[in-house]
Symmetry: C2
């Protein structure tokens, strides 16, 4: 039905899945990578860089902002976006923990 049954999972599982979802689109990956390289940028730059319409970029920026991954500061008529270091560190830690939890099992099936 397109509706995730989030009530049957733990908060941690829902949160982790939400974090993945925030980065589960090439445009948002591209925005993040551009922000890492340029340190900061405005909407217009991304429109030129990525080749998506301005409302589309704006929407992706909104999702990244909702996820806490970026922050936007109004500067005159434009908005300066950059990575939010605190949330970034949280993502890094949580993702790292997930992958570190698996210790290459020697007794798999088969």
């Amino acid at each position: 039905m397109g509706l995730t049954k989030s009530e049957i999972f733990t908060d941690k599982q829902n949160k982790l899945a939400g974090m993945m979802k925030a980065l589960a689109h090439p445009a948002r990956i591209a925005i993040i990578q551009y922000l890492i390289k340029a340190n900061a940028c405005v909407n217009g730059q991304l429109v030129e860089e990525l080749g998506l319409a301005q409302p589309t970029i704006s929407q992706h920026l909104k999702e990244l902002k909702n996820a806490g991954l970026i922050q936007g500061t109004i500067e005159g008529t434009s908005v300066c976006y950059c990575i939010e270091p605190k949330t970034w560190a949280v993502y890094q830690k949580e993702f790292g923990a997930l992958f570190a939890a698996y210790r290459g099992g020697d007794s798999c099936c088969g």
Copy 2:
């Protein structure tokens, strides 16, 4: 239009986004975490453990398999699933690289 314009992004960006998407659902996170703990399991166990219908679990397992994150071995009438260590290591490396690329910028906007 619900259709991602993947042709305007790099292969790496599309691939990384696809990797995130494979884990962007709490059920798939739960399955992976269960596999880490139990080392291996069959569909029926997950149906009991997660409380989703059998076809739903089967579908999520299929997506994880398509992503290369898990492998399934037929054992009699059931199928034994476990984590695929090789792809797991790739994910770990790629995710790690993404997050390591950002070096806490001191000169953000604002």
